[in-house]
Symmetry: D2
């Protein structure tokens, strides 16, 4: 930690800061600069809470060198983590995976049909929402428990592990009964009670980045889960909110290689929610894979024009077949076996 004093801070103020640092159990080392003095804090072995310091007279700024997360960092855990979802391995060195399915589970026919279609096309996981977060209360909110049951049925029929969203701490139990991978959605990335709760189970968690979350906050949210004892976290970039409205969100693809530098956790990409436009999903899926993503989440619906949510960003079965064909070739180019079972 570095404490920057204001340009007109006197010796007395500098001494007071030094004393406060020492009372916290650390060493303080003043560094007189051209215009102002800075004070280095030594002896800490992790993040130092700066609340006492920031407010002393003459202090201009407190700069943290350590980060608010540790367990998720590559510095702490240099080896890349591979997360196993019912036999599907996700992480560095593994062939990138594809999770596909409708935004929302709507009926047995819809979800089973989709599961079989995406399985046939080569998907690794089945995605589908049973609990749906929606901006307003007057729109379709998901089939809830019934949706979970149908999703599990479709998973069984297709042989695909299933991933679905959990929206509150008290439903972690019921969702974990059915799901193979529990998704924490963007709106809940800082629902800390929910993070702690999924940290107490053993099943893997897919944590989506919040709409306006920095990388540091994203990793600190994952830290909540690991801190409770669950190391099986997969991160997912799904677009951030910016001034641009031509796409639903702004896909921040540069975080893929960046997160791989900062953390050992796998990182997937959701081009469907990020762009909100069907025609942009295939190019951004491929861009994500080339940028190094460990997998993608793609919305697929038997009849997108009749979908109860997010129709415009869902691929048709035919569109998904075509995408998977391109993904297979791309994976082969990137050095992964073309076929899952090859």
């Amino acid at each position: 930690m570095l404490i920057v004093m204001s340009y007109n801070a006197g010796e007395e103020e500098i001494d007071a800061v030094v004393k406060a640092v020492e009372e916290m159990g650390y060493k303080a080392k003043p560094i007189p600069g051209g215009e102002r003095t800075a004070i280095g804090v030594l002896g800490n072995t992790g993040y130092v809470d700066d609340v006492i310091i920031r407010d002393l007279p003459g202090v201009q700024e407190v700069i943290h060198v350590s980060k608010p997360y540790k367990l998720v960092s590559r510095a702490f855990h240099p080896q890349s983590s591979i997360i196993n979802v019912c036999g599907v391995e996700i992480g560095e060195g593994c062939r990138p995976v594809v999770a596909a399915g409708p935004c929302a589970v709507e009926s047995e026919e819809q979800i089973v049909k989709t599961a079989l279609a995406v399985k046939a096309a080569g998907a690794d996981l089945l995605r589908g929402g049973a609990f749906k977060p929606r901006t307003g209360p007057h729109t379709f909110q998901g089939l809830r428990e019934e949706g979970l049951r149908l999703l599990a049925l479709a998973g069984k029929e297709s042989g695909l592990p299933i991933v679905t969203e959990v929206m509150s701490p008290e439903s972690v139990g019921i969702v974990a009964e059915y799901a193979d991978l529990l998704q924490v959605g963007a709106r809940n990335m800082q629902n800390f009670d929910l993070l702690r709760e999924v940290g107490r189970i053993e099943k893997p968690v897919l944590l989506k980045r919040g709409m306006s979350a920095t990388i540091e906050e994203f990793l600190a949210a994952a830290e909540y889960i690991l801190a409770e004892g669950n190391p099986n976290v997969i991160l997912c970039e799904r677009g951030i909110r910016t001034f641009e409205t031509a796409t639903r969100n702004t896909l921040d693809l540069s975080v893929v290689p960046l997160i791989k530098e900062l953390s050992h956790l796998p990182i997937m990409v959701d081009p469907s929610h990020a762009t909100g436009k069907r025609s942009l999903v295939p190019p951004m899926s491929k861009a994500a894979l080339v940028a190094g993503a460990h997998g993608i989440l793609v919305e697929v619906h038997p009849e997108p024009e009749k979908a109860l949510s997010d129709g415009p960003q869902s691929l048709t079965f035919q569109g998904f077949d075509k995408l998977m064909e391109e993904v297979r070739k791309l994976n082969q180019f990137l050095g992964y076996g073309a076929e899952k079972d090859a």
Copy 2:
């Protein structure tokens, strides 16, 4: 609702859209334009879910004229709502209120001392966090139930109603036992299960705007609470996330008069979290009141330099006294009696 067709959409595509609209039970009225055709949807009495339409061939854009909220809108409920918190009235026409107190409840001495001080200075409500949302898991998370008890004690000793944050659906019950006004924080503005749960109680709710929530999403979040039956919602602007990092957030003060046009609910402002800097709190508090806010939330701490969270944005007792003196004069200037009990 207006459906804009792409410039090269043919008659067949237009007819298909008309048919789909009619199947939904509405009337469709094609409006041929200079470059493309638009189709007006008539006969709806509220928000129309557009998922079937958006995806038909030839559809370029669907424009909603109705909003995803209704109960909170001034169009639906023209008269301004006054929310009563244990005798303190909040809303249009009432003297703006001041809720003051520490970011977090830390000890009995700290909270009681602060309660008596802010009461003496003229505050109307006591604020303090028992459950604290924090970016990382390794920092102080609040005293929880013990914090609620201490807060209630301080409320009793000072005679001030208390406002505190509730972070999950399952703790609504316990928080409602102690609190007079339940706060839903910015990070939980779209925690829909929590919104529904506070919608089922009778106590008033202070709903803070999410860090990257639009006004429309903010009002739609309030709609969740009203839709469950609780009409006692107070909105609170607390700064949004932008590219600017010189302040903690960007206080979006223009929403105060704007929300007063769009909704009948009261709107308060939190200049402490918005700016993150003690020196900016007094000028922005006064600016909020002049802009028409129905109240402000101000962080006050007996020893800000020792606060366990948000010290740099907390006022000292002396600073708060000075602010309240200015607020009293300003309220008098704005036409409200200077004294609460005048």
Copy 3:
């Protein structure tokens, strides 16, 4: 300047950084921390270009303690600057000024009529655009030189100094012939050739904040003007671009007290462009003044519904009269004489 080394940087890398700093003529002081070493740079008397350092092996981050501006900073020039525009004084301690007029000069009748009306209502300066920056090339671009002539005429008839925008270095001469205060618009805040050119004249300059400019960039842009020799710069907050589209821009009012801490230059506010909505202009004008702004810019048009640009945010004469009445009372409350010539 502080150089933060990565957690696994070895002694050799630290030594190389120390050597590089010394070759630049400064002293380097390594500060070993709990997790990593930081290196303080001493002996500099201003901003240090970090390009050589940032890229050395083992360097994680370079943190600047000094700022990229100096002449505009309060640290360098503690006394507040008062800018005199033809006898109208703008700055700390002076009664806040009001610049009013149409977005664009459209005709002699329009501008003269408006000038007389805003003068009668109590405005201090006449604003009006002769050169208009417009998003697309197919809309009205201003009357250009003819507009300047008409604006000067209206200034003369009303006795008001005039402020108008200059859009390119080569038109600084012609604009300076007519204008009393030259405005550099938000889109040109980093048009450095233009900044240098207005830095070489003697007339005062009103520098608007760029749509996505940080405070640091805003002040660094002003530094360009002062560095060329023109100390007469007035800053102007006019709203920044954020995700929120309910208002035209997001008025970042907190920068008013913040800039007063960081710089000695006066700061004005333009609530018309910031909000884009007529009904929001009066409340935000008053909020700006209470927050400490040294003046406001308000769009006024004889017939806003016929304005060739920005009609929806322009006040009518009647609306402006009403606002000025409120402004006068507010100024009196704030301790300034109610009347300009009192």
Copy 4:
């Protein structure tokens, strides 16, 4: 154009709007809706200026169906444009090009050495800045005319066409004398006088997207150039400004396929400025190509650690060689001949 009336607008107000539309020479068609009336505007053949309408009593919103650009749109010009820069073809169907070189021209040795190195590695164009836009006035501003001369020399020695930035209308002439492709930088994307000036020359222009420019504004800026008669415009995405500070900007890669839908102009990507980090440049370069970009701009410097600007984002010669090898393979995979002269 569609005019949405407020929910309580009466017949009189609707009639007034209809009349105003008709006075503008268009037809108006009222469409009574469930909650409010909308009025369609017919008969226009392009963008309609809405200033008269927006401000009439009872008007809530004016929605444009037509866009503020036309010449750049694919609707108007369905066939993709191929821009020829001294024999290098850029656009749909052509092998993606690579422009490489230092951020700033620093010396004859530096630029010639770099030119020969990037040519040997397979680059198609040489980039380098002679006029440099810098945040503050106290940092290196470029070698200016001398830089142009050196750049041209390096272009000649290496046989590569050169691309360099022009910062003001009056220097368009001198830059066009030397450059084969004139770059308009992000900060000048709405410097309309500059856009017009490069619209009057015949040489091709590389237009970078502004830091906070929407796609619509970006295309409207290009429209300025085409409207003056120069059809040779290449667009360039270089990252937008968001709340995220972990990267220098946020690379908005989704605009690549989106712009290809909206416009016939080629679109390139600058991963160096977008990310600001050397390690992110190769993955994002490849992601850009897979997303469909017509080329990339990459910063390369013989000794990045000594670069006078943007060192941390520049590749070394060795790093660039490695990237080009990967790019060649990727281009081959994407169906383009691996070798330029193959």
